[in-house]
């Protein structure tokens, strides 16, 4: 319950405050969101599996976001930004789907 409330509060806060993102950060926001999504799905699945741990969740969230943004930034510097971004999105997408399937198995027993 608390996490959902936290998520909703965060969304409202973001829409209300409308912070201006610095220009150099803007290209990495979408990747950061996908990485955050992966961490959230992982946390939810761990919760359903019964092995949820707050510390692991927080650390996985932060490290996912930072590492994903870092990889894309490195790719941009090396000139393979688009390809690396695609690779990161593909891997994160696979993980999200895997976790979503496990969640579905738990929720629907199907």
């Amino acid at each position: 319950m608390i996490p959902i409330l936290g998520l909703v509060a965060g969304v409202l806060l973001g829409l209300l405050l409308d912070p201006t993102v610095p220009l150099w950060l803007q290209p990495y926001l979408p990747i950061a969101v996908v990485a955050a999504l992966d961490a959230v799905f992982g946390g939810f699945r761990a919760r359903l599996d019964g092995i949820f741990d707050a510390k692991v969740f927080t650390i996985s969230f932060v490290s996912n976001v930072v590492v994903a943004a870092l990889i894309v930034f490195l790719g941009d510097q090396l000139g393979v930004g688009a390809q690396l971004s695609t690779a990161v999105v593909v891997v994160l997408g696979i993980r999200i789907f895997g976790n979503a399937a496990a969640i579905r198995r738990h929720v629907f027993r199907a």
Partner: protein, 303 residues
């Protein structure tokens, strides 16, 4: 080797990277923490509260991130829309300006022609030049023409009754389509029968006009014309029709019509109006020799 997460382990030991990625979607740290927790005992109140606060904070950050990214994406899409609308407006304005300039060009050209005719009519060499010019312009199809004549229509073969109207090719048999050769036959026959001016679907034929077949379209002077093809010829209807019908080209056309089903009609017309052909480029100019009693005239060449 990391501990196997309860959701399912890797499909095969020592498997490829892709297998690992596909199978181990849950961070193995969760399983390790769970094992550590069972060894330590369940969390006490303080630890639990701290854990809950951490989770809540993290979700708040996730929410803010999502909201900000969405805002940014929406703003960018709107920006693109505005830019596109501005560009479309620019294109419209410039098109209008270009149309105005073209109209102005026509007016100026007419004015120049008037002035030239007035000036040249004052002297005999000038008048001679004007007459030559008129004859040349008639031959080059640079002026619109009106008069009685002949209208020949060529059309692709109609689709057969058993052609599939929905999925089938509504163009029919490829041999039933009018080709450039057929149009050339008609036009040659008309010229030979004494036509003074010919146009196809509103495209006037000049001395250098070509009738070509490119891909699936017939091009007259590099402009496409479509089925059905109306060939208008201005001349004396009687001599035109008798000359046209007795020409050998029309004989072969009639044969083609019978064999492939092309539609071939002609009719005499009382009044046909043919537009001027597109103006050719000005390639050479030379001054008219000066007369003693008149100042040297402007170069009198085709426009």
């Amino acid at each position: 080797m990391t501990a196997r997460p309860p959701g399912g382990g890797p499909r095969s030991l020592g498997a490829s990277l892709l297998d690992d990625v596909l199978a181990e979607t849950l961070d193995p740290a969760y399983a390790e923490a769970a094992e550590a927790r069972t060894a330590r005992g369940p969390a006490t109140g303080g630890r639990r509260r701290r854990g809950a606060v951490l989770v809540a904070l993290t979700m708040v950050v996730a929410g803010v991130l999502a909201a900000v990214t969405y805002d940014q994406a929406a703003a960018r899409a709107q920006g693109r829309q505005e830019i596109r609308a501005a560009l479309v407006d620019d294109i419209r304005t410039e098109s209008d300006a270009s149309d105005e300039l073209a109209a102005e060009l026509e007016e100026l050209r007419a004015e120049v022609t008037r002035a030239r005719d007035e000036l040249l009519a004052n002297s005999t060499t000038g008048q001679q030049a004007l007459d030559e010019l008129a004859a040349a312009e008639a031959g080059a199809a640079a002026l619109p023409v009106e008069g009685p004549g002949l209208l020949v229509t060529l059309a692709n073969a109609g689709s057969d009754a058993d052609d599939d109207p929905v999925g089938g090719d509504d163009e029919g048999d490829i041999r039933g389509r009018v080709r450039d050769g057929d149009l050339q036959l008609v036009v040659n026959a008309l010229w030979a029968a004494g036509a003074e001016a010919i146009s196809i679907n509103g495209q006037r034929l000049g001395p250098t006009s070509a009738i070509r077949f490119a891909g699936e379209a017939v091009l007259v002077d590099f402009r496409p014309v479509t089925n059905p093809y109306e060939v208008s010829a201005i001349g004396d209807p009687e001599t035109l029709s008798s000359g046209f019908l007795s020409s050998p080209e029309v004989g072969s056309l009639a044969l083609i019509e019978e064999t492939y089903g092309l539609r071939f009609d002609f009719s005499r017309e009382e009044q046909l109006t043919l537009p001027a052909a597109s103006t050719p480029e000005l390639r050479a100019a030379q001054p008219v020799p000066a007369e003693p009693d008149v100042p040297p005239s402007d170069p009198a060449t085709g426009d």
